[in-house]
């Protein structure tokens, strides 16, 4: 919830705004040729080919006086406080760079603002953009790839990053953004309810069959249902990656620009059959992703409506506080890896990445300085401890802030562990899609049809894939 919900608040086609701005984006990029810094790159291939521009790291040394840069972000209150204090510390620690933070309230609205800024040049120097907007950021031709600066910066330790966090923001051989806030979905369950149902509270379900069996046992123990499932495309994508299934073609859009949906596959059908089966057999009830009932899946554990649900790892801090507030004294929260992982699969990352949008050399260099600071082990350790996000640096895990936080709430560790476990493939790297919102809308429509109208899982999946392919083609045609 803490970040997932804010980042997905509204990607259903939003009438005029979305349409008009997409139209504007396309005219603007066509008209001004980007005006950015990487005219050498050829984004027509999807962003992975061609030579990339240089990163002028020296420009910062040559600059007279501090270089002021602006960073756009959308962190909600508590997380914003953490970001502000980290940024204040950065500003105070050196003389060369001054960062000004701008809060644009939500990932989607910030994306609108960015698109509108393409035509006027009102763009930030650093932008923290939601995961799904990667292809669009590349297509704006305003981004200096992080890759350029990574190659230039001798002190940069690429090997210390959790591999999959980097992989998500890499297309072909080009690292476009650097991950900053990362989360993934985990299984939340009530250990007390498990005991009541005769299940081992320390052995949470691992496979799809385990989930079914556990849900059945919970229901048999007198609960109205076993589990609550959010109607959330992100969860489907994660289950798919656990099966090593790709969402779109061309190596999940990483080898070349995606041209069609690829999830109408054996893996996709297995996930849909699993989810649909749970609901059809009364072992799970669907719950909305947004709106006033978006916490029902969590609160339902407290009110003994069910004993399991899936939600973002970043929600754990909030869940712990709410369940620990005293009124749910009989709930004993357990956190487990997302069930259903096969040998070649794994979870993908969710969250947002830092992009360099500056176009003057000294600002580009300053932006990199700041980004390198934000993704350093020390910063990541403090950030993860304050927010509940997963640290993107492996060495951050041994630093005192994270160690203390994980000791206090061991569940936080689960999301990190499942991100380093499993295989690193194009499937677990996550999909790169220009119009990701429409693909997700298609998947959620199919989930709804399957859950609420007793639709056939395979048929619903095929329809979703067709709609997703149409959306992908439409985006590609407009480029």
């Amino acid at each position: 919830m803490r970040m997932r919900t804010s980042m997905v608040s509204s990607w259903r086609p939003r009438s005029f705004t979305a349409v008009a701005l997409v139209a504007a984006l396309l005219t603007a990029t066509a008209a001004c040729g980007g005006g950015g810094s990487d005219d050498d790159a050829s984004p027509g291939d999807g962003g992975g080919e061609g030579s990339i521009p240089d990163c002028p790291l020296d420009a910062l040394d040559e600059a007279t006086g501090p270089v002021e840069i602006t960073m756009w972000h959308t962190m909600g209150r508590a997380n914003e406080e953490a970001l502000v204090s980290l940024t204040d510390a950065f500003n105070a620690s050196q003389e060369k760079v001054r960062v000004k933070l701008v809060n644009n309230t939500s990932y989607d609205d910030q994306q609108d603002k960015y698109r509108a800024g393409l035509s006027t040049g009102d763009l930030p120097d650093v932008a923290l953009m939601q995961d799904v907007y990667q292809q669009q950021m590349v297509d704006t031709q305003t981004v200096l790839p992080a890759q350029s600066c990574m190659e230039e910066d001798t002190g940069f330790d690429e090997g210390d990053f959790v591999p999959r966090t980097l992989e998500y923001y890499r297309i072909g051989s080009v690292q476009w953004g650097l991950p900053f806030n990362v989360s993934n979905p985990v299984l939340y369950y009530d250990k007390a309810a498990f005991r009541q149902a005769g299940l081992d509270p320390e052995a949470p379900p691992v496979s799809f069959d385990d989930v079914r069996a556990a849900a059945q046992a919970v229901k048999d123990a007198g609960f109205p249902t076993g589990m609550s499932l959010k109607v959330d495309s992100w969860h489907f994508e994660q289950f798919l990656a656990l099966q090593d299934g790709e969402l779109v073609d061309n190596g999940n859009g990483r080898e070349e620009r995606a041209t069609a949906a690829a999830f109408d596959s054996d893996e996709g059908r297995e996930v849909f059959a699993f989810l649909g089966g749970l609901v059809a057999d009364g072992l799970a009830t669907p719950s909305p992703r947004t709106g006033p009932s978006q916490f029902d899946n969590i609160l339902g554990i407290g009110s003994h409506n069910h004993a399991m649900t899936i939600d973002s790892s970043a929600a754990l801090g909030t869940i712990t506080e709410v369940l620990g507030s005293g009124q749910y004294a009989d709930v004993e929260l357990g956190v487990a890896p997302l069930p259903g992982r096969t040998a070649d699969g794994g979870v993908t990352v969710g969250g947002a990445a830092l992009y360099i949008s500056a176009d003057e050399p000294e600002k580009q260099a300053a932006a990199w300085e700041y980004i390198a600071y934000l993704t350093s082990p020390e910063t990541q350790s403090k950030w993860a401890a304050a927010t509940g996000y997963i640290p993107v640096r492996t060495s951050a895990v041994d630093l005192p802030e994270v160690t203390a936080r994980w000791e206090e709430i061991p569940g936080f560790r689960v999301a990190y562990d499942q991100l380093v476990e499993g295989a690193d493939t194009t499937a677990t790297g996550g999909a790169v899609i220009g119009d990701f919102e429409s693909v997700r809308a298609a998947i959620e429509e199919a989930l709804n049809r399957m859950y609420l109208e007793d639709g056939d899982p395979a048929a619903a999946l095929t329809e979703a894939a067709d709609a997703a392919t149409a959306a992908i083609e439409s985006y590609n045609e407009r480029l």
Partner: protein, 275 residues
């Protein structure tokens, strides 16, 4: 079977009470929620009365959420837009109703046509204009694009058309020029419509979100709707502060509606009966 008038009246009031309850309940829950502790907000059964109101959420919205600044900015921008729209609409509406000039019909149709163009379509061009004028991050950038409205000109033209020609003739004999007639006679007569327009302008300006987000990045110039979204939290443990912000942001509108209720209804029905 005949029902007594008293019974019918009672029934009518009963229905109205039920409807009012349905409409007001969410508002009530918002206000109550802003006065509860976070854990009371998620309790089952829900807490419907704050026995021990917690006003801390309001001070948190005011200080941490910078609502003082945001409310002030919204007030300034809303005042500019409302006043601007009133002045331009009164002048344009009067011209279309009372004056004769070449291409009057055509120009009027063009005015009306602007009502058909959704604001979103003009966003990018407006943004370019504002940026070219170096109005990014200024009150001017926030207000100037909205100082004139086709709807206002149309609404007031209809109101001015209802002024009898005799009145105009009498005023002319008394030596009133157009400006004097407008100020002394036409505007007072069209007061219900003008009040209605003022309320609509105020509502629209106050509730603006996307435009202010696009033309500002300095927190010192941002408006309350942006502040509310910044405050909006998807974290269960902070919803009371979000609700407090909602109440603060809605308060000016509620006060306005109560003050102008009569004019608003009269203004709307005036237009409806005679077009």
């Amino acid at each position: 079977m005949r029902s007594s008038p008293a019974l019918r009246k009672a029934l009518r009031y009963l229905v109205l009470t039920v409807l009012a309850f349905i409409v007001l309940f969410p508002v009530y829950v918002t206000v109550v929620g802003s006065l509860l502790l976070p854990e009371q907000l998620t309790s089952r059964p829900p807490t419907l009365f704050p026995n021990d109101p917690q006003w801390g959420s309001y001070s948190e919205a005011w200080t941490d959420g910078h609502f003082g600044t945001y409310l002030w900015n919204s007030a300034v921008v809303t005042a500019m837009i409302t006043l601007g729209q009133l002045v331009t609409s009164i002048l344009a509406g009067y011209a279309f109703a009372m004056l004769e000039f070449p291409f009057k019909r055509t120009i009027f149709v063009v005015f009306l046509a602007t009502m058909m163009v959704p604001f979103e379509v003009t966003i990018i061009t407006n943004l370019q204009t504002v940026t070219d004028l170096h109005w990014y991050d200024t009150y001017a950038g926030l207000a100037v694009p909205f100082l004139a409205t086709g709807f206002g000109a149309f609404l007031l033209r209809q109101a001015f058309l209802q002024i009898p020609a005799d009145l105009r003739d009498a005023a002319t004999i008394d030596g009133y020029g157009h400006l004097k007639f407008l100020v002394r006679v036409a505007v007072p007569l069209a007061r219900p419509s003008i009040a209605a327009l003022a309320v609509f302008s105020f509502l629209g300006a106050w509730n603006q979100y996307l435009w202010p987000l696009l033309v500002t990045e300095d927190d010192r110039l941002r408006t309350v709707q942006i502040g509310l979204r910044q405050l909006r939290s998807t974290q269960l443990d902070e919803i009371n502060v979000t609700l407090a912000g909602t109440v603060l942001a809605a308060l000016p509108l509620v006060v306005l509606l109560i003050l102008f209720q009569k004019q608003l209804i009269r203004g709307l029905t005036t237009g409806a009966v005679k077009g």
